[in-house]
Chain length 228, copies 2
């Protein structure tokens, strides 16, 4: 095991994929798996898989492969999912509610402890078994459960204030659905799940190279000169 000083984010983003695939393999009662077979399941190359795992240790057996359940447990520990992680969702609008439901039903290892909103109409409501609480309850709940991870699903204008508060209450990592760049102090991680960006960049690829060229070209013909 090489003593890497840190692990690239690209590698960390692949860990949950390994975890999901290993869970599937266990369900199919497959007990041993090679990097080549893992490649088929994940779409990553065998070399990349072996190198990713090597960042954290030597978990396989030469000549044989990886023991599915053992590797799964190692990855759980690496990510920090060996015990259920409590999280909160801030913003109980349509997206926040859908995310709450989604996570409850689809996310083993993670437990949504509460959702927060300021709208009196939704406070007190229950999303499955999760209660919507007023923002005033946020600090005490974060401290009580030792919560380190929050999901932000509030309108753009409110997102910076929300993240400032969250950070002051001890939150260390944020999944942000609001389409804004959030400023946070060093040591706090923000990942953006920006649906607009995903969708728009996808639209770029929905037309062919040729069509894109034509669009830019047509423009040129219509105008006399570049601006100014």
């Amino acid at each position: 095991m090489p003593d890497h000083s840190y692990t690239p984010q690209t590698v960390v983003k692949r860990l949950p994929v390994y975890l999901r695939v290993l869970d599937n393999l266990l369900r199919r009662e497959i007990e041993i798996i090679s990097s080549k077979e893992l490649s088929g399941e994940t779409g990553f190359t065998p070399e990349q898989i072996r190198k990713d795992l090597a960042y954290f240790g030597a978990f396989g057996t030469r000549g044989t492969g990886y023991q599915t359940s053992y590797l799964r447990e190692k990855i759980l520990k690496i990510i920090g999912l060996d015990q259920e992680t409590p999280i909160i969702i801030v913003g109980a609008g349509h997206l926040g509610i859908a995310l709450t439901r989604y996570n409850i039903t689809n996310n083993p290892y993670v437990e949504v402890v509460a959702a927060f909103d300021n709208d009196p109409d939704v406070i007190g409501e229950k999303i499955l078994n999760i209660e919507v609480l007023p923002a005033s309850r946020m600090e005490s709940l974060i401290q009580e459960y030792g919560i380190k991870v929050a999901v932000i699903a509030v309108p753009s204008q409110k997102a910076q204030q929300v993240v400032d508060d969250l950070v002051s209450y001890g939150i260390k990592a944020v999944l942000n659905f609001a389409p804004v760049k959030l400023e946070v102090p060093q040591g706090v991680q923000v990942h953006n799940a920006d649906l607009t960006i995903e969708l728009q960049s996808l639209i770029y690829y929905s037309s062919s190279e040729k069509e894109r060229m034509t669009r830019l070209q047509k423009e040129k013909e219509g105008e006399i000169e570049s601006p100014q």
Copy 2:
């Protein structure tokens, strides 16, 4: 303008960010902006911004900067948002419905034409002004509107079948929310918006390097040897 044979995906993913920032700047009536100022708004370096734009042309004025409205229009054309893009959402569960609402209200340039589901209970329902249609109506609607982009928000087990159908109806780009690797023919783009992966990789960062080390270390002490 260098004649790049293709544009890296990393660059394409930044285009919507430029677009959003330019929209904001126009609202603030800022007519000229330098790459340095754009850097402040986007968080990307000025060099990167200039290089990104250079993939598509020379849109600025040396010594001055970029004309906000002109650059915005250029980027709209590059992405393909110069005319409103019709899309569909497949799967009208909680997530599908939230995405439909979200996009309608938050996404200029994109129009959700319909949502699809097979559950008789939701078929015929309206999400704002968007109707939920049965899957049997998918093919004709895609053809009628010339739709090239679809969002998949169905359960994992159904996602591959759905994407196969969509591709056969002419869809060229898919935003997939189901946590599975979808197989598609060459020329079709799939982007994954996998909330579980985002959340789990975030959890990795919510504990410190030291804590992670301890977790893996503790394991080692408890066991006699590696597996087998």
